[in-house]
Symmetry: C2
Subunit: 197 residues, 2 copies
DNA sequence: TGGAAAAATTGCTTTCGATGCAGCAATATA
DNA sequence: TATATTGCTGCATCGAAAGCAATTTTTCCA
């Protein structure tokens, strides 16, 4: 059931080596000051090989976002019966908070680079559709109803403010909850004010 | 009062020639399929010179955003006494709508390219601080009060949804107003639900 | 177990955006 | 007119990204 041949194991290993080497170099000298050649050297592969694992240099920075998106989708899909999408999202963020204490400093790397910051926002925006779909389900909204999209967009944008203003350090679950809850309340109130359709 | 020597006049002219040539080529063959060499040729300057006028290829696409930001700042600063920031923003967008009927098709160019779309979002996000400042004034909010930032972020994000979903074509003032007003109401209601601080 | 097939890795080459530098030309100033 | 500014240009370089063909490694079947 889980054959995972030598091949796939090695691939995972190489990918991790690349990611790890890159993150370390980014943290050490900064994103721009690190070339793909540096990364390849540190990981023991050729520069060309990097592109077999990551479509671009930036994707090495953001490669964890994809699994996070998957986790969010699961959390929203499997939320308890009584809980609405906004509540499930809240819980997801709060419970993800402590995991974010990544010792590898990739968040600092992103924070230090204007381009990366901006692209992070874009990546987060990719979560919108998932959230919007869950909200649409709650609301029984049709495809022409923009309320879910608007609410989801507001949410992600507001979260981004939190992260930016929060300085990036208050990774304590209680703090996070205290910051998130007003945002959720904000969107809930807004949604109530919006007519269907 | 306005000496504007030959030199400055020529500079303006060259800049416009570059912008015009670039936009035309983008519209004709697409953004990626147009190289800086193509643009330089069409404008009658050297490739190197482009960088004297625009910091990057992308900035040729978004160069009008800066003046729009200035116009928004003015509109917010000089709003009539009885009008709040949200109302002024609404009016600004509605009255800007008809000007957006740019015959040069840059909006289509942006819409056709995923990267440009994402970067447009980032540019729009640069408006947030201006809007947030105006809202903060309305609310009498201090620098630690995140409500203005959250509201401004929600606004720009929601507007982006509108533009995306709206297909980009309903540039009639009445349509725009009909689309904007619910967004404004959404944010107003959200703000009311948010405690100060 | 041996060897063909599939897949991964690599070097090489090219394209393009971006930047530093130095010489030259056009403009401004005195 | 002489001189100082400023702009334009070519050139050379760097880094990211992508195509291609050769080579090595892994897999899988006879």
């Amino acid at each position: 059931m889980e054959p995972v041949g030598l091949r796939e194991r090695k691939k995972l290993q190489t990918r991790e080596a690349l990611r790890r080497a890159a993150w370390a170099l980014f943290a050490e000298r900064g994103y721009d000051a690190t070339t793909l050649a540096d990364i390849a050297d540190a990981a023991g592969v050729s520069t060309r090989t990097i592109f077999a694992y990551f479509p671009s240099k930036e994707d090495i920075v953001f490669c964890e976002f994809e699994s996070m998106r998957g986790a969010l989708a699961v959390a929203l899909a499997e939320r308890p019966a009584g809980q609405d999408a906004l509540g499930a999202l809240r819980d997801f963020i709060v419970s993800s908070a402590h995991e974010k204490a990544d010792g590898e400093g990739i968040e600092q790397v992103i924070a230090a680079d204007e381009t990366l910051r901006s692209h992070k926002r874009a990546r987060i925006a990719e979560f919108q559709d998932i959230v919007a779909a869950a909200i649409a389900e709650d609301l029984g909204a049709g495809p022409d109803d923009l309320r879910p999209q608007v609410a989801a967009a507001s949410l992600t944008a507001a979260f981004e403010v939190l992260e930016r203003e929060g300085g990036g350090k208050p990774h304590d679950a209680a703090d996070v909850a205290a910051a998130i809850d007003p945002i959720i309340a904000f969107v809930r109130a807004g949604l109530n004010a919006l007519p269907a359709g």
